[in-house]
């Protein structure tokens, strides 16, 4: 409204009063204005002079002030600022300064209306921007259409276009909240070229000089266009409006954003809207559960931390939350994901062609991005569900250049535990909370700063004796700098930590505290150089300093006789630099080739055991110990990683892609439970434990049907893994001073096919996918002291060959939608006993071959309904209800099968975590 008033007064000045020329003003301007926006310039001028400026923010947002002046009249200063733009100004007697742009459609004014010599502005009549419209209540929409009709001049205007190319760059943002839009496509019709916005909504598009119409599209947003006259490199920020389907809306689907056009293969992007539509177990949108519905992603079971991508173990996924590594991505025995849905903008899962800027894990990268706070007003959201409650608040700080987003979530009940059919959980209690903070600051058009903080805490008391607690702590600071239209970069520094502790106090003599801690200090810099229309080059370097305290065991109190046992800490430096080129070879063929070189230094202080050569690593074969000093390089591993992918378009609606990736992983999660447990520990590669190495080749075919409204794809992959860790029978992983004696080096292979049919938008949307995948491991090193399954290939714990997922969402009307999720998969492998025997007074079971059998198949159907309150804009609070039923068919899906001795006899049981349909109701609100 403020702006509107300014505008109206501005118009009235133009229309009804005559203006005085600026020459009569004797107020002088001094100062050094470098790289600031026009608005910032105005602010500083207004603060030291009596000038008051009137302008339309939209029209000056392409202006960057870069001047240094001393005692200059304002007119001279403004002349310099506006010299390459089509902005004009007028200054009146009252020291009011009016700035307006010259529009393409102009009307002549009577010659005597202004003194043409003194007034540099022509009045403008903008279609869709008339006074009458402004009198209405919805200025936003009108502004929008005006932007589409406006002709933007990029670069200093010349009489004719020069030969060559220019780059237009800027941010694509949500008109309403001012938030960056990730993955929006900015493209041309002819030639058919385009670029996508990065994680900050930034794009850089190199085009032939001349007039163009840019088409901008993004899922969930209304397609828009910008007419530009490209004279030279310049900036153009674009606002997009949310797509709200009208009652009789015709769905127009952008074809540029489709899977056939994208170069990356095996990449799945989900925005929060899609995530929120997927029915979940306790009514709260869950990022990880949404990811589990994607082809190629499975998990060991309902209550398991983590997920498995294309036959990789859970620790082979890099989970990034605004570039912060999250070591434990689950709450509450894996039933909740660690991420508050209110702060998430979207997730991207890379499972085959992993961009060269990511590394350090073998299987996949799950890149979760949070929203920036609302730039325009303070707003909030929250929800109350059956187990948790959450609240978030966001908005501008001081002005719209700085925004914040703060969110929290906590459990208020643990009735869920009582459902788990195990007596020890019935007498237990559990709870969690997490906090998110995100601040973004736009210092000027070239510099943006972001701070992300994340903290989570889980604790559960088992059998009212043992207390478990684990925490994630992450903070990072990012600086995005735009050097010029072609080159931009992001510098990130941060700290990621995870720790857990176990304390038992019941028996005073044995009472203990156990603690594990991992911390990682990171620095990374990523640069993107848009060299020309054919090459987009990424390069950068990153470095992580790991510090692990693998375990401390201490007495809980003074009475305790526990002898403190501290495993020696580990530290290592993992560094990498990378270079990648995204090449448009021809309109049909695009190639992305990248190399990442990673170096891992295992650092002192540490004592290293030496073992007899060619003998199994065990305690009796230790020959010597070497002590290394602090910061001494004990062992260095290094090597190149190749990331190559190519896309060939067969037609507008079909393409073939191929990719080859190699990856290295220097950190391992030690776990000999079938499901990853929160008390597993991380271990760095050391002289005895080699880094994991993996390579994957995949081929895919993509075809869009029905004018791109339906996407189909099929992808095949084959993966090979070296030095994956498995464990000796009865391995001790906690408080083991020489863990290398308890682990086994295995080799793995994984292969499969993924079929997907997806309808990304429309009243009825969703996808159906089928995945065939196998993961086999082999441990045949005779020197290891023992082999698993006689050295033959055996299925990994998460090997589930067939997997079918259906996600469907039907928007019945504006206020009511219904979603269905159906999941079928083969049961996971288990080790079944093959014989019985009597020992120690009871029947016991004899196990031989590992993972030879499977638990029964898994099948689950979930249903949920979203009911929105009315859509009156003026309402203080918007609310919605989510009602859902998890496991609608009440099928007792086995989580595990176990054999236990009861009264001297062996009994076999099938354990289901959710043995019935679980309804939930969640109340969500926004204000």
């Amino acid at each position: 409204m403020q702006k509107l008033r300014k505008y109206l007064s501005f118009l009235s000045v133009f229309l009804f009063f005559s203006c005085r020329i600026n020459g009569q003003v004797n107020k002088k301007i001094s100062g050094d204005f470098q790289g600031i926006t026009f608005a910032q310039f105005v602010k500083s001028v207004e603060s030291v002079t009596d000038y008051r400026f009137f302008y339309i923010a939209d029209q000056v947002d392409s202006i960057t002030v870069n001047i240094s002046v001393k005692d200059q009249p304002l007119s001279v200063v403004l002349d310099r600022i506006f010299q390459h733009s089509d902005l004009h100004y007028a200054i009146d007697d009252e020291l009011e300064v009016f700035v307006i742009k010259k529009f393409s459609i102009q009307t002549k004014l009577p010659a005597d209306f202004f003194n043409s010599k003194n007034v540099k502005a022509d009045t403008a009549k903008i279609p869709g921007f008339e006074e009458d419209d402004y009198a209405e209540e919805k200025p936003v929409l009108k502004l929008k259409s005006s932007a589409e009709l406006r002709l933007y001049t990029i670069g200093p205007k010349t009489n004719s276009y020069k030969k060559g190319k220019g780059t237009v760059a800027g941010y694509v943002r949500d008109l309403k909240s001012g938030e960056a839009i990730i993955g929006a496509t900015v493209s041309l019709d002819d030639p058919p070229i385009g670029v996508s916005t990065d994680n900050y909504g930034y794009y850089s598009f190199t085009l032939p000089l001349g007039p163009h119409t840019l088409l901008i599209s993004s899922i969930g947003m209304k397609d828009t266009r910008r007419r530009i006259e490209l004279y030279a490199d310049g900036k153009l920020n674009i606002d997009m409006e949310e797509f709200i389907a009208g009652m009789k809306a015709v769905v127009v689907v952008s074809e540029k954003n489709s899977n056939t056009g994208r170069l990356n293969m095996g990449t799945e992007r989900l925005n929060i809207k899609t995530i929120k539509q997927i029915p979940v177990v306790f009514g709260e949108a869950d990022v990880l559960r949404a990811v589990l519905a994607l082809p190629g992603v499975t998990s060991v079971g309902e209550a398991s931390t983590g997920f498995n991508v294309r036959g990789g173990s859970a620790d082979q996924n890099l989970v990034l939350f605004n570039d912060a590594s999250i070591y434990n991505s689950s709450h509450f025995f894996g039933l909740f994901s660690a991420f508050n849905p209110d702060v998430i903008k979207g997730v991207e899962l890379y499972k085959s062609s992993i961009p060269e800027k990511f590394g350090g894990r073998l299987s996949s990268v799950l890149d979760i991005t949070t929203r920036d706070g609302n730039k325009k007003k303070i707003s909030g959201a929250g929800g109350i569900g059956p187990l948790t409650t959450r609240l978030s608040l966001e908005g501008p700080v001081f002005n719209e250049n700085t925004t914040f987003l703060i969110a929290g979530r906590a459990t208020y009940s643990d009735w869920l535990l009582k459902l788990i059919p195990n007596d020890s959980y019935k007498n237990s209690s559990a709870g969690f909370y997490d906090l998110n903070l995100h601040v973004s600051h736009e210092m000027n058009a070239k510099n943006n700063f972001f701070i992300t903080g994340y903290f989570s805490n889980d604790q559960f008391r088992l059998n009212s004796d043992t207390l478990y607690r684990y925490q994630n702590k992450n903070i990072n600071l990012k600086w995005k700098h735009i050097f010029n239209n072609k080159l931009n970069g992001v510098i990130t520094v941060g700290y990621d930590g995870y720790d857990y502790s176990i304390a038992s106090s019941q028996n005073p003599v044995n009472a203990y505290k156990f603690a594990f801690q991992i911390g990682q200090t990171n620095f990374r810099s990523d640069f993107t150089l848009t060299a020309n229309t054919k090459h987009s080059i990424n390069f950068g370097l990153s470095s992580e300093l790991y510090k692990i305290q693998p375990g401390t065991f201490d007495p809980y109190s003074k009475q305790s006789l526990v002898v403190p046992d501290h495993i020696q800490g580990e530290q290592a430096l993992e560094s990498a630099f990378y270079l990648g080129d995204h090449m448009v070879v021809s309109p049909r063929l695009s190639v992305s080739a990248g190399i990442r070189y990673s170096i891992f230094n295992y650092l002192g202080p540490h004592d290293v055991y030496h073992y007899l050569p060619d003998l199994p690593l065990n305690e009796t074969n230790i020959t010597d110990t070497t002590s290394y000093h602090s910061a001494k390089f004990i062992k260095t591993y290094q090597g190149p990683e190749f990331r190559i992918s190519a896309r060939y378009s067969l037609s507008d609606a079909a393409s073939v892609k191929i990719s080859y990736n190699t990856l290295r992983q220097y950190i391992h999660l030690l776990s000999n439970t079938t499901a990853i447990s929160p008390t597993d520990i991380w271990k760095l590669s050391d002289p005895s434990i080699q880094p994991q190495f993996g390579d994957q080749i995949s081929v895919g075919f993509y075809k869009n049907l029905k004018s791109n409204t339906i996407e189909t794809s099929i992808e095949f992959y084959y993966k090979h893994i070296e030095h994956y860790l498995d464990y000796k029978s009865g391995a001790t992983l906690l408080l083991n001073h020489h863990i290398e004696t308890d682990v086994l080096n295995t080799r793995g292979k994984a292969y499969g096919a993924e079929l997907m049919i997806k309808k990304p938008s429309g009243k009825l949307n969703g996808w159906l996918s089928y995945t065939y995948s196998r993961t086999l491991l082999q441990q045949d090193d005779k020197l290891a002291g023992e082999t698993i399954n006689d050295g033959k290939y055996y299925p990994a714990n998460f090997d589930r060959p067939h997997n079918v997922n259906f996600i469907g969402n039907f928007q019945i009307n504006h206020r009511f939608s219904i979603s269905l999720n159906v999941n079928y998969s083969t049961g996971r492998p288990i080790t079944l006993p093959t014989a019985l025997y009597d020992l120690g007074g009871a029947e016991r079971v004899y196990y031989s071959q590992r993972n030879e059998y499977r638990i029964p198949d898994y099948f689950r159907t979930d249903l949920s309904m979203n009911i929105e309150g009315n859509h009156k804009i003026k309402k203080f609070k918007h609310s919605s209800w989510t009602i859902g039923v998890y496991n609608l068919t009440a099928r007792k899906n086995p989580y595990s099968i176990f054999f236990v001795e009861e009264n001297g006899l062996v009994k076999g049981y099938k354990l289901s975590i959710f043995g019935s349909a679980i309804p939930s109701i969640t109340y969500n609100f926004r204000f």
């Binding site: 006789l561 001795e901 309804p919």
Partner: protein, 380 residues
């Protein structure tokens, strides 16, 4: 509308969801494993030692383990001395006492009937410290028995307990008549089958270690749990707690066996496995042999608990539904008993106006419920 949802939610939360545990029958595996299972401890000193030999059997086989009879079992010292164990039948081989030299190492040697020779690894004889105290406490779950022990030399460190429980119980009715060789006879006081004593070894593996403590102290370790309402405390209960010590490897063996067969069913179960013990087949080195042989001295302590010492026990007798019936005409008791002799299904109780009264054997004869009428020598 909202209220209805809420009511529905509450109803569902209270009544509806539950996880579940269902019985699972594994697929029948035709593995003709038949591996030798060696179960026992060899105690040095005045205590008897028993080693039981059996074979692994198929999962579907619900029968008792086939005893491995006819084997030659002996203890062999590192100096070559051999102490044979006597075959006491049913696959058990024992020695009333073993007087071994604590400075030597020992192993167990088995020559099976099928001609295979098995040897356990040579091991020291562990010295077990005495039990300091045993006490019990009643809590919400029942009665728990705790034990404290320590070794001033700090050498014992790894402990295992074997508990033999004995308890007295009775059946529903006092039977005054017996049926012997086709005739009804009176039971005298010595032949009554109303009161019985049952002895059983606790099936749970019970181990503990003090290896993380500065002193070799096992403090208030729970060794027995008698759940509330258990028959074991329907009258008088006694337990013999036998303590012996292990090597570190033996401790790991029993501890892993306990984890894999007793502590399963959590959300984060370990990958199950069968650990190789310390017994090997000499002439066929590859074949698995199950069991772990330890040599140790033994310490023991007996406790008694009476039902009068506990409160709110709420024992629900196994015979609660028992009834006495009169024999219908022609009142011929031989009709109740098969002419071929035992097993019998009924017990005569007495007579009423000349009519025989009888009941189900489990209601009239306590021996049918697993016990014996012989009062143990230690019983007070």
């Amino acid at each position: 509308m909202k209220l209805t949802w809420f009511a529905f939610l509450i109803a569902v939360l209270v009544l509806g969801p539950s996880g579940c545990k269902q019985v699972y029958t594994p697929p029948v595996v035709n593995s003709n494993s038949g591996y030798l299972v060696v179960d026992g401890v060899l105690f040095n000193g005045n205590d008897s030692s028993i080693v039981k030999l059996s074979r692994t059997r198929s999962l579907a086989d619900s029968s008792q383990p086939a005893p491995e009879s006819g084997a030659a079992v002996s203890v062999v010292s590192s100096s070559g001395m051999e102490y044979p164990l006597t075959d006491i039948g049913n696959g058990s081989y024992g020695a009333a006492q073993l007087n071994l030299d604590g400075s030597l190492q020992y192993q167990l040697k088995i020559m099976s009937v099928d001609g295979n020779e098995y040897l356990s690894d040579l091991t020291d004889i562990r010295v077990t410290p005495p039990i300091d105290s045993v006490y019990w406490r009643q809590d919400s779950l029942g009665v728990a028995v705790y034990l404290t022990t320590h070794d001033p030399t700090n050498n014992a460190r790894y402990y295992r307990w074997i508990v033999d429980e004995t308890w007295q119980y009775h059946t529903a009715f006092v039977s005054l008549l017996d049926y012997v060789n086709g005739e009804v006879v009176f039971r005298d006081a010595n032949n009554r089958v109303y009161d019985c004593y049952r002895t059983a070894t606790l099936p749970e593996i019970n181990v503990a270690t003090s290896n993380k403590l500065s002193n070799d102290l096992i403090y208030q370790k729970q060794v027995i749990r008698v759940p509330t309402a258990s028959e074991k405390l329907s009258f008088e209960y006694s337990a013999m707690i036998k303590q012996y010590t292990l090597t570190k490897d033996a401790f790991n063996y029993w501890n892993n066996l306990a984890t894999n067969t007793q502590n399963t069913g959590s959300l984060f179960d370990r990958q199950p496995f069968t650990q190789q013990g310390n017994i090997h087949c000499v002439n066929k080195p590859g074949i698995p042999v199950i069991g772990y042989i330890s040599f140790s001295t033994l310490q023991k302590q007996r406790i008694f608990i009476s039902k009068n010492d506990v409160f709110s026990w709420n024992y629900y007798p196994y015979y609660a539904e028992c009834e006495i019936s009169s024999l219908p005409p022609p009142n011929d008791p031989s009709l109740l008993f098969p002419a071929t002799g035992p097993p019998f299904f009924f017990t005569l109780i007495g007579t009423n106006n000349g009519t025989y009264l009888f009941t189900d054997i489990r209601c009239g004869d306590c021996r049918n419920h697993g016990g014996t009428t012989t009062k143990p020598s230690f019983w007070p």
